[in-house]
Symmetry: C2
Subunit: 121 residues, 2 copies
């Protein structure tokens, strides 16, 4: 059901946890499954230098957030905002259709963390 | 959002994995979130002597399956079939309403494993 990239990020997720004194915090709850995702970012000179996530969500949510946080670290705020949910799924090599909503969880939590940062600055 | 019993079973789940030569195998996919659960049971003299689960599902599904497999081990087939989803949730000390469907995943996979056993015997 899942490809090896998804399985690898699920069993060995990157960037799990929290950031001390984050510059932006995003929380998003999925209307589909009820799962919650929290993403924290650290920003320096408009560049995302660190990102961490926490979730009680499923394997697809974990793999998507692991990949998505990897994708935004090192990017500017504008570049990170431009990343689409489809790009996250593509980087994962695809997800089963019923699990696309789990990658949306990661995508929305990241955007919400960036908006939180933007509002404070 | 989650009580300490749920968190304990999530972070330290019991009975994860597979059984060699299982007497019954149940697989169930949630129509709500798309997650899948597999439960294998070992039966001796109509008594469930071992149970193991595997899932890509969320923390609530993991905690529910951990608790549910603990509850059926040592029980007869009839006693295990009589266990309700509500009893699993109660043993966990409750789940948020949006996550009840995750415990249903465990409950249905167990029933499906028992039916698989019954059909073969
Ligand atoms: S959201 Fe799918 S099992 Fe919990």
């Amino acid at each position: 059901m899942y490809n090896s990239t998804v399985m690898e990020h699920f069993t060995n997720p990157r960037n799990v946890g929290e950031i001390e004194n984050p510059d932006g915090v995003g929380v998003y709850g999925s209307p589909v499954c009820g799962d919650m995702m929290q993403i924290m970012i650290k920003v320096e000179d408009e560049k995302i230098v660190d990102a961490k996530f926490k979730t009680f969500g499923c394997g697809s949510a974990i793999a998507s957030s692991s990949m998505a946080t990897e994708m935004i670290i090192g990017k500017t705020i504008d570049e990170a905002l431009a990343i689409t949910n489809k790009q996250i799924v593509d980087e994962l090599g695809g997800l089963p259709p019923v699990k696309i909503h789990c990658s949306v969880l990661a995508d929305h939590a990241i955007k919400s963390a960036i908006y939180d940062y933007a509002q404070k600055n």
